[in-house]
Amino acid sequence: MRYLDKDAIENIAIGAAFLGTGGGGDPYIGKLMALSAIEKNGPVKLYSVDEIEDEDFFIPAAMMGAPSVLIEKFPKGDEFVKVFQKLAKYLGKEKIAGTYPMEAGGVNSMIPIVVAAQLGLPLIDCDGMGRAFPELQMVTFHLDGISATPMAITDEKGNIGIFETIDNKWTERLARTATVEMGASALVSLYPTTGGQLKQSGVHHIITLSEKIGEIISAKNRDAKEKLQELLKLVSGYELFQGKIVDVIRETKGGFNLGKINLEGMEGYKNEKMKVHFQNENLIAEKNDQVVAMTPDLLCLVDYETLLPVTTESLKYGKRVRVIGLPAHEKWRTEKGIETAGPRYFGYDYDYVPMEELVKKVVAEHV
């Protein structure tokens, strides 16, 4: 067990935005919410998964909806107090032992910190993705057959809904509709889990990993190359490209931001091209028309010099970036994982090949 203070939160916000692979919302407002909450209620306790009891009961907390709404209308802050009580009563549980994030991202890594501070609950060092994804069924608990419901959804006005659904895709559909009616941004609490299930199905140490990533990126007076090497080592990642954004094509379809980013190589990648496809999150990277990374593996764009993560909303011509690839958690690389969040689910005509193999292939051909 350890405490998360202001510095830890600053670093987690950066690291989580990195793992958010372009999506996951504006890290600034998320960070302000978390910092305000600990200023008022004191630092938050962080437990590693090994420190929790198998029989204890845990509920995650997350924000659902449009990032563009969240920057204008953010939560009251104590919504979860009631929601947790309601959900516990509904489930017939007397005690909730802690909370945890659903995904890594600028906003959703911060919401559980707000909840933990307010309810005096411990935060558990795990999540259900190890990255960010757009839909509710895209979590490792779903892959292991855990039901998303009963789930609770609430807004700052005090409305609370409880859903019981026939499967997790229905949860996504119904929750999405409710979210729009609640003003395009809502707070959700789903996949109620036991300590045993968290140990079995969660992505462990994700908060600590985010914090370490943030520490490396925010270190002052250090050379970018040196920081990059340390970062790649920490996450077992690859630098896939260095380049300048020469074009961003965006469209909005079915409530998602879709698009393509065209990059022109620089430094060691002169005369080469890269194309990154995104749907809220970055999903596919093609270098010189050859695929080098695909979902569910992680594809992060960072500022060329500062290594600060770049969200898809802030992409624009002339920005210099590095493209970093990270292997996804092993649960995503199973048959069900690829079916749930692989290239074909998002409409790309590729069979999933792990990043390590793709990178090896490109290097071999290059030689």
């Binding site: 600034y28 407002i29 302000l32 919410m33 910092l35 305000s36 909450a37 909806g65 449009a66 563009s68 709404v69 920057i71 204008e72 209308k73 953010f74 939560p75 009251k76 802050g77 104590d78 707000v114 700052e156 006005k157 005090g158 729009v180 003003g183 395009a184 300048k244 020469v246 909005t252 409530g255 998602f256 931001n257 022109e264 802030s314 624009k316 011509y317 002339g318």
Partner: protein, 516 residues
Amino acid sequence: MYKLGIDVGGTNTDAIILDANHSLVHCVKSPTSLDIKTGIETALQQLLKEANIDKTKITHAMLGTTQCTNAIVERKKLARVGVIRLGYPATASVLPYTAWPQDIIEKLSGNYALVHGGYEYDGQLLGELDEVEIKVLLEEWRDKVESIAVIGVFSSIKNDQEFRVRDIIQDVYGEEFPVSCSSLIGSVGLIERENATILNAALCKVIETTTKGFVQALKQEGIFGAEVYLCQNDGTLMSIDYAKQFPILTIACGPTNSIRGASYLAQVKNTMVLDVGGTTSDIGVLQDGFPRESSVAVEVGDIRTNFRMPDIISVGLGGGSIVRVNNGKITVGPDSVGYRIGQEAMVFGGETLTTTDIAVRLGLAEVGDKSLVEHIDEKFAIDVLLEISSIIEHAIDKMKTSSDDVQLVIVGGGSIIVPDTIRGVSDIIKPENGNVANAIGASIAQISGQYEQIYIYSRESREDSLKDAQEKAVNQAELAGAVPKTIELVEVEETPLAYHPENATRLRVKVVGEMR
């Protein structure tokens, strides 16, 4: 008739006079004083003494000044502000003044209240306004605040609540009491818009002194009949009354003025502009005669805001930048001998190697004593020039929106150090009188009006929406002092909003007209 323009920069206060054809009659450069006011008076005095014109024929006087910026940066002369945010219970998780530096919160008295009100993203009511709640608050704040900032959730979509609160405040505290409404100041993004609105409210005393001081200085010099304007950061002017409502819009008007002045001198409307000073260079982009706006959050005095700002990048390269060799590698800047160039640069008998010395050595400029730099190796001088080119090339590339070559207009006192060819640039224009481009920009500015709102095209047709937005922008322009029949539409920006169930679009229009 004549126009008089003054631009207060970090180093110099420039003053110029233009005739009816916008030709330069006379210009002076005088050092900027610590209090700014004395510097303006000195420049004005010198200008009028030397120009020898009929003062009664000065019809317009324009001031581009840094007083508001300085007040925020130095935390001086700021008003005590009360902040009213309409949105409770939403948004309580991040309260006003979160992440502000403590010293400025204290200066502003730190009074705030989160009350009922606000709208949803689609214009539905989030919360009803409680007028009793507002009145009770105002009784509590009586004599504690000198200015009030009103910020409603999604007021960029519907702002009637903000205006109602303004009316209540002026009913209770008097008609003259300064109230800043966020919907008129910033765009979507509550925290950033709130911060900009608070700063605007805090500047009400500074702008009062600034405008009074300028009018008085003009009177002292015998200029009585002139219309007086202040420069905004989008290259247009505002009347004194308008400036008193939106003092924050004067921030960063300096670089904007040089871009506009450069455009005027070079007679081009779409171009990139490089303004080379003594220590830094600013690069901006001119679109249809106006500077391109920044699309990201901008920090003013360590406070994150989102009000309109020109998209400018600054690099540490100027006429006084120091040239060094470190481990065989040539570096230029970012430090500079600055205003001491007349003593420290080699061509003036000093001992510091500057970019100006390199330019003189290579015959690009004739300043100081050429013989003092003859000993510099020519090959070395060329390498330094290549480094200068490379700094400029990188900066220009960052500002481009496509990979095509661009035209570049170069102005500013330090422009002699810039080589004649730059990669990524198709042609270079160095106009005459480029050293006072900023004051010229101040004098030729027009009057603008802007309006931004989210429209739902499936409910209100695109055509009607555009018309509505344009009408509101024209109203703004007239209020700011434009001649109605000269007002024309210069910019329409439509941003479709993701996640909205209906065809919602953020529409922003801008109109410009000749000054009254």
